[in-house]
């Protein structure tokens, strides 16, 4: 029992007392340590604290990064990251564990850092942050250039010098720390600040941004590898040129920038053209404008003048036309002449065929028909004539019986005045010395009146009556009166028998007219004489008329 009591002379501690003692011991002994290891199972709690484990091949130790410190870390804890953690050890009595409270983390070794950057680059590239399609073209001639870099140092001076040399313009500097704690945040703020400027505000919004830093170690350039900086550069609406470190240094912002410049000076050259070159270019264009315009107008003028020279004079233009007109006129005449000649030939040709023979046939036909008709007419008229002759012959004795001839035959005579052939029907009408013709039935006697016109006839009444009868008879038979050569043409009203008698008397005028042809024999003889001639006569109508007339003559 005593041993047990003795055994128990070691002061008895509670768990809390022991844990507390242990904690004091650990924290005292390891108030600041640097431990190298590989990060395992990093985890950011909702509170913003980071929990992770550091391990090597054989051991592991829990680690914690309080929120305040986590924000300042240059690198974000990642699985497998080889780091050197700086901090202090403490215990967590509630779980009987110890852990390291990390103040800062740094990558352990360059290879590890490069591997980290490569992994990050791949991750961001997979997001499309570095896509070529996202690249924005740089303005040809910016009005304002925004520069994000340290206000001190050679970088800003180099940039400003180069811009001045090329094309002096307005430069806005957004001063930032380019390394160390807070550099990344300042750079992000500067990029976003420039982008948020109102173009119409008091501070002009740059047309192009240059994010620059001079050369340095990989660690020095780490701010430009920070994911936040890379994302801000990729999100910038203003075209962004990155120029970090030397030409061989590549940071992740270079991938996200629209253009990567090898150096800050190079960035200035990319951002700003050379004014003198532009002036020369504009002048060259102006000169070409003048020259080409002059040549253009000169060419047109030359062409115009050449065309004007080639334009023929009006008369030259008309001459060939006039010639053609003459030619055509000539040809027209020839053609017409030829045409007329041909027509003449045609006419002659056809006229030649127009022979009298053509007319002969119808003429002959007509003649034949005429002869035919004539023959018929002869026949008909002959028959008619025969009839009429028969009638006439029948009438002749009757006519004779009432003619003055018959009166004359009974011993009367007609007295005619020889001078005018008029009948002297009274003694008083015959003047003394007048030649009278006494017409008897068998002839005429010429007498001269002696003494005054006293009637000498023994019986004036007897003489008067026969005379009157004779006169009336002469009038009645006038058409067939003696001495009438053309009785058919003499008007009935004229005293043709008297004139005929005169002419007849004229032919026998003299003292005595002796022995005329006995009139009475003729009517009988004439038809007899005419009859034989009738068949011989032409059947023509005219001849028929003539024949009729001669028949009457014969009759007379």
């Amino acid at each position: 029992m005593t041993d047990d009591l003795l055994a128990h002379n070691v002061p008895e501690l509670t768990v809390s007392e022991l844990s507390g003692a242990l904690r004091r011991t650990v924290e005292t002994a390891f108030s600041r340590v640097r431990v190298r290891g590989e990060i395992s199972q990093p985890k950011c709690a909702a509170s913003g604290h980071w929990y992770l484990r550091l391990k090597d091949d054989e051991a592991v130790i829990d680690g914690i990064i309080w929120r305040g410190q986590a924000a300042k870390l240059p690198v974000r804890p990642e699985e497998g990251m080889e780091v050197i953690a700086t901090g202090r050890l403490t215990t967590y009595p509630g779980r009987s564990s110890y852990q390291i409270v990390i103040d800062s983390l740094e990558l352990a070794g360059e290879g590890a850092l490069l591997k980290l950057l490569e992994d990050r680059r791949k991750r961001l590239a997979a997001e499309g942050l570095f896509d070529a399609a996202r690249k924005k073209p740089l303005p040809f001639l910016p009005g304002v250039v925004g520069v994000v870099t340290s206000p001190t140092g050679a970088v800003i001076r180099d940039i400003l010098h180069r811009i001045t040399d090329r094309f002096p313009l307005r430069v806005l500097l957004w001063p930032v720390a380019v390394q160390g704690d807070g550099a990344a945040r300042a750079i992000v703020a500067a990029i976003e600040g420039f982008n948020s400027l109102d173009p119409a505000g008091p501070i002009p919004r740059p047309d192009v941004l240059i994010v620059a830093r001079g050369g340095g170690s990989l660690e020095d350039l780490m701010a430009f590898n920070e994911e936040s900086v890379v994302r801000a550069a990729a999100a910038s609406q203003i075209p962004l040129i990155s120029a970090v470190g030397h030409e061989t240094d590549v940071t992740l912002i270079d991938h996200a920038a629209d253009v990567r410049a090898p150096t800050p000076t190079g960035a200035a050259e990319i951002a700003v053209p050379v004014r003198a070159e532009l002036v020369a270019r504009v002048l060259g264009l102006a000169e070409r404008l003048e020259r080409s315009t002059t040549r253009l107008f000169g060419d047109r003028r030359e062409r115009l003048e050449a065309l004007a020279r080639g334009l023929p004079r009006l008369d030259r233009l008309l001459e060939p036309l006039a010639q053609r007109l003459d030619d055509r006129g000539e040809r027209l005449e020839r053609v017409i002449a030829g045409l007329m000649e041909r027509c003449g030939r045609d006419l002659a040709d056809r006229g030649g065929r127009l022979q009298p023979g053509l007319l002969l046939r119808p003429c002959e036909a007509g003649l034949t028909r005429l002869q035919d008709l004539g023959a018929r007419l002869d026949r008909e008229s002959a028959r008619g004539l025969a009839d009429r002759q028969a009638r006439l012959e029948a009438l002749a004795p009757r006519l004779e019986s009432v003619s003055h001839r018959s009166v004359l035959a009974r011993g009367y005579a007609l007295v005619r005045r020889v001078s005018d052939g008029t009948l002297v029907t009274s003694a008083g009408r015959a003047g003394a010395g007048e030649d009278l013709a006494l017409v008897f039935s068998d002839g005429t006697l010429g007498v001269r009146v002696e003494g005054g016109g006293a009637p000498v006839l023994p019986s004036p009444a007897a003489a008067r009556a026969p005379a009157g009868a004779a006169s009336a008879g002469a009038d009645a038979v006038m058409p067939a009166g003696p001495g009438s050569g053309v009785p058919e043409t003499a008007p009935v009203s004229t005293p043709a028998p008297a004139s005929a008698a005169v002419s007849a008397g004229g032919t026998v005028s003299g003292t005595v007219v002796s022995g005329g042809v006995p009139d009475a024999a003729q009517p009988a003889g004439a038809p007899a004489a005419a009859s034989p001639a009738r068949p011989r006569r032409s059947p023509r109508k005219g001849e028929a008329d003539q024949r009729q007339a001669s028949f009457l003559d014969d009759f007379e």
Partner: protein, 96 residues
């Protein structure tokens, strides 16, 4: 950015003659590119006379525009500064 040959893009009220964008709305690069285009067409000699006159006049105006812009060259450097109230302001910046 090259709206120089597309009149439809610049149907603004102050558009220039012939449906071309007004000269003073053009950036230096646009003016320069259009001037180059005009010079090339005139040098090709394929434009008719009336167009040539218009082209020439516009070319002269574009040249003036470019030269004006080039004459504006003046260096000024300012630094963004935060006022105590957190406002963003400008301050002259000396390189030395």
């Amino acid at each position: 950015m090259s709206a120089k040959k597309d009149p439809a893009k610049t149907a603004s009220a102050d558009a220039g003659t012939d449906g071309m964008p007004a000269i003073d709305t053009l950036t230096f690069e646009q003016a320069l590119a259009e001037l180059e285009s005009i010079v090339r067409q005139l040098e090709a000699g394929s434009v008719d006379l009336e167009s040539a006159v218009r082209f020439y006049e516009r070319g002269v105006a574009l040249r003036r525009r470019c030269e004006t812009r080039l004459a504006e060259a003046r260096m000024s450097v300012e630094s963004i500064a935060r006022t105590p109230e957190g406002e963003t302001g400008l301050a002259p910046f000396g390189t030395e």
